[in-house]
Amino acid sequence: MTSTVTNIVVAGLGGQGVLKASDVLSDALLRAGHDVKKSEVHGMAQRGGSVRSDVRYGPEVFSPMVSPGEADYLVAVDSSQVDVCRHLLRPGGVVIAPDAIEAAALPNRRSLNVALTGALSAHLDLPAELWTAALHANFRQDLWAANEQAFQLGRLSQSGSAKRPST
C-alpha cells in the first residue's frame, strides 16, 4: 500500500522557509487531485534550530509522518540537515541539496527554498501550471516574479534526471 504513496521530507533551519516550501508543494499536489498530508516539527526550532516538514501524497494517505527509510525525496534547504535526515531516505531515494542551485543566479538569497521546490518539481509528474498556481496562492503578488524565477532556476537544474528515483 505504501508504494502508492510518495514521501517527501523538506528540512532546514528556522527562518529558511521550510514550511513555506512544503506549503507550496502540498498546495500543488492538492490541485493535482491527490490526497495530501503534511506534517511538521518546528517545536523549539524557530530560533535557528532544525525544522522538518513531511509531505505525503497518493490516492489515500493515512499517517502524516514519513517513516525512517521510506522517504523518496529529501529536500534540504540547509546542507547541514542532509545528514540529520538521511536515515529517512529509502534506498535509492533522491537528495536535493542547496548545491543543486547556482546561488549567484537566485533573485534573492532567501528564495533558495522555492528554488529547491522547483528542483523537486522536475522529479514529480505535475503540470507546470499547477506549480504556478501554488506559488501564486502562497505569495503576495509583488513576490510572484522573483519566486517564479527562483522556481524555474531550480526546475532547470535537474534537467536530465529521471521523473522518479530508481529503486
Binding site: 498530508k37 530560533r47 535557528g48
Partner: protein, 564 residues
C-alpha cells in the same frame, strides 16, 4: 464555500473554520504550542477572538459567554488546562446554557513543552465529555459534534487534540450550510449556577446523570466507527494513532473511537469479543486500556516503553509485534539559540558572570540555560520563577541567598507572575529579592502574540495597556528600575549589582523589543498614532501565523512560529 471544495488545513485551522461555520460567538485563550493558531486563524477568518492574561481567565470568559446562551470557544495547550482546572471542575457541575467548547492541545513527545501530560485524564476527572479528532476533517466536524453535545446536555465539551493533529495539514471538505445559533439572553438559574454546597450537591448528581445518558447515546453514536477486517487482529484506537494503525496493520479490524469519554464500553466489549486478539493502540498513558480492563474487557496494551513520546507507523508495528528491543535514535538536529542581537544574551551573560542562582521561567529566555550561558537553575511552569526564587532566598544560607534572582518574561509575568510578586511583597525574604522582568513587548516563544503589557489586542489593535513598572510600584515595591540591556553597555550589570547589594525588594525591568518584531512594531506604532495612514503592507499578523506576506521572496516565516 461549496460542499465539494477541498482545502488543506492544519488541525488548528480546521477547528477555527469549524467554529466560524458553527457560529461561535467568542474565542478566548492564552497562546501555547500547539494550540496558538486556533485563535489566530479564527480571528483572521473573521471570528471574534481574544487573548486573555492566562488560561483560567480565558476559560472563565468563555463560561460567561456560554452562560449567556451563546457558543463559546476556549483554547490552550495541555498545561494550560492545569491553570484552568479550577473552573473546569465546577463548570462541569453548573453546565451551560449555550455551548462551551474547550480545546486542549496536548504535546506527546514534547516537541515544545515542559511535560507530556495526557489530558484525557481531565475529561474523566472533571466529568466532561471528550472528543478526539484524528485529522483536520474530523477536527472540523467534531467542532459541530461538540457543540451539539454541549447544547443538548448543557455540558462543557473537551476537544482534545495533539501536536500531530494540530500541525498536520490534511484535506477538509467544509459544510455548505452554516449554523444559525440562538440569540444570547440571560436566564436566571440560581441553584444551577451558584455552587454553594447546598446547590452543588444536587449539581454533582445531575452531572453523573448526564454522563450516564451521554454514555448510552455514545454506544450507537457514529462518532465511533468500526472498520471490519481480519478477525484474528482487532485494534481499538483514537486520535492520530488511528492513522498510524491503518498504515501499520491495513488488514486488521479496527474500532476507532471519536467520543472517548464517556466510553461506549458495551460497543468496545462487543468488538473485543469478535476478534481473537484485541490490542489497544493509544499515545501517552494507558488510559483507554485501563478503562477497558476495569470494565472487565480483555485487551492487550502496549509495552511501557511506548508510553514515552509520540507514536508512529514503525512504533505501532513494533507494539503489534511485541518488540521491546531498544529503538534507534535519530541523529540530533540543530538546537535553537537566542537570536544574535537579543537582549537576553546581555542579561544571561551578566547573570553568569556574577554567578547568580537563577530561578527561571518559560519563554524564549529559557534558552539561557544552554551554552554559552548556562545561566538558569530551574524552570518548572509559567510563573514559578518568583515563588521558587523566594523559597530559595528563605532557605539558603545568607551568602548563597543573596545571589538568587528570579527571571521572568513579560507575557509570563502577566500570565502568572503578578501573584508571585504579591507574595514577594507580602512575605519578603530577610535579605530582600531581585526580580528581573524581561520585557520584549511580545510573547516571542509562541510566535509573537500580543498580551496585556503590549497595549494591543490579538489582532494588534490598540487597547488599554498594563504598565509593569506602575503595577510593581502600586504593589509596594520601592526599588523599580527600567533598563535597556545593550551589548557593550554596563548599565544592566551595574543596576543588577546595585539591586543585589541593596538587600531590598527590587524589580528590574529589562526593556527592549524582540528584534524579530522591532520593524513591524514601528509600523504598528506609526499606524496607531496616525489614524489617517493606510495599513502597512506587511502586517504583523501575517508573519505570526506563518503567512508569506511579511517576508521577502521565498522565505517563509517559520522562524517565529512556535515554541512552548
Amino acid at each position: 464555500m461549496s460542499a465539494t471544495e477541498r482545502i488543506l488545513l492544519n488541525g488548528d485551522e480546521a477547528i477555527a473554520l469549524g467554529c466560524l461555520h458553527a457560529g461561535v460567538a467568542l474565542g478566548a485563550g492564552y497562546p501555547g504550542t500547539p494550540s496558538t493558531e486556533i485563535l489566530e486563524s479564527f480571528s483572521k477568518m473573521g471570528g471574534r477572538a481574544q487573548w486573555s492574561p492566562n488560561e483560567k481567565v480565558a476559560f472563565e470568559v468563555a463560561i460567561g459567554v456560554a452562560y449567556a446562551g451563546a457558543r463559546a470557544l476556549v483554547t490552550m495547550k495541555h498545561v494550560g488546562l492545569n491553570v484552568a482546572a479550577d473552573p473546569l471542575f465546577t463548570v462541569a457541575y453548573t453546565g451551560v446554557s449555550g455551548a462551551l467548547l474547550i480545546v486542549s492541545a496536548d504535546d506527546p513527545g514534547m516537541a515544545s513543552s515542559q511535560n507530556e501530560q495526557d489530558n484525557r485524564h481531565y475529561a474523566e476527572a472533571a466529568g466532561v465529555p471528550m472528543l478526539e479528532p484524528s485529522n483536520s476533517q474530523e477536527a472540523y466536524d467534531f467542532v459541530f459534534a461538540a457543540i451539539e453535545i454541549s447544547e443538548r446536555w448543557h455540558t462543557p465539551v473537551l476537544l482534545r487534540v495533539t501536536t500531530r493533529v494540530c500541525h498536520s495539514k490534511t484535506v477538509v471538505r467544509p459544510r455548505a450550510v452554516q449554523a444559525q445559533p440562538l440569540a444570547p439572553h440571560f436566564v436566571r438559574d440560581i441553584p444551577g449556577r451558584v455552587m454553594i454546597p447546598a446547590y452543588a450537591r444536587p449539581a454533582h448528581r445531575r452531572l453523573r446523570q448526564k454522563l450516564a445518558e451521554i454514555q448510552a447515546w455514545n454506544e450507537t453514536s457514529d462518532l465511533n466507527r468500526a472498520l471490519p477486517g481480519d478477525p484474528a487482529l482487532g485494534i481499538i484506537t483514537s486520535g492520530v494513532s488511528y492513522a498510524h494503525v491503518r498504515e501499520a496493520a491495513p488488514a486488521a479490524s479496527v474500532l476507532k473511537l471519536g467520543l472517548t469519554y464517556p466510553l461506549p464500553l458495551r460497543r468496545v466489549a462487543e468488538f473485543a469479543r469478535g476478534v481473537s486478539r484485541c490490542v489497544v493502540i493509544e499515545e501517552g498513558d494507558p488510559w483507554l486500556v485501563d478503562a477497558f480492563r476495569a470494565a472487565g474487557i480483555r485487551v492487550e496494551g502496549k509495552p511501557d516503553m511506548y508510553r514515552f513520546g509520540e507514536l508512529s507507523v514503525p512504533r505501532v508495528r513494533r507494539i503489534l509485534e511485541g518488540d521491546v528491543s531498544p529503538e534507534s535514535k535519530p541523529p540530533p538536529g540543530k538546537p535553537p539559540q537566542l537570536c544574535d542581537a537579543c537582549q537576553y544574551r546581555v542579561v544571561f551573560d551578566t547573570l553568569r558572570r556574577h554567578d547568580c542562582i537563577v530561578a527561571g521561567d518559560i519563554g524564549c529566555y529559557t534558552l539561557g540555560v544552554l551554552p554559552p550561558f548556562e545561566a538558569m537553575d530551574s524552570c518548572v511552569c509559567m510563573g514559578a520563577s518568583i515563588g521558587v526564587g523566594l523559597g530559595l532566598r528563605h532557605a539558603l544560607p545568607p551568602d548563597e541567598a543573596r545571589r538568587v534572582v528570579s527571571v521572568i518574561g513579560d507575557s509570563t509575568f502577566v500570565h502568572s507572575g503578578i501573584s508571585g510578586l504579591v507574595e514577594m511583597v507580602y512575605n519578603p525574604p530577610p535579605g530582600g529579592h531581585v526580580l528581573i522582568i524581561l520585557d520584549n513587548s511580545t510573547t516571542a516563544m509562541t510566535g509573537h502574540q500580543e498580551h496585556p503589557g503590549t497595549g494591543r489586542t490579538l489582532d494588534h489593535e490598540p487597547t488599554n495597556k498594563l504598565v509593569i513598572e506602575d503595577l510593581a510600584r502600586a504593589l509596594g515595591v520601592r526599588r523599580v528600575h527600567v533598563v535597556e540591556p545593550r551589548v557593550g553597555s554596563e548599565d544592566f550589570g551595574r543596576m543588577l549589582l546595585e539591586c543585589l547589594a541593596s538587600g531590598e525588594l527590587c524589580v528590574l525591568i529589562t526593556r527592549r523589543p524582540c528584534i524579530l518584531i522591532a520593524k513591524r512594531l514601528k509600523e504598528l506604532e506609526q499606524r496607531h498614532t496616525a489614524p489617517e495612514s493606510p495599513l502597512p503592507s506587511t502586517g504583523i499578523a501575517a508573519e505570526a501565523a506563518c503567512c508569506p506576506n511579511g517576508v521577502p521572496a521565498g522565505a517563509g516565516a517559520d522562524r517565529p512560529k512556535s515554541g512552548i
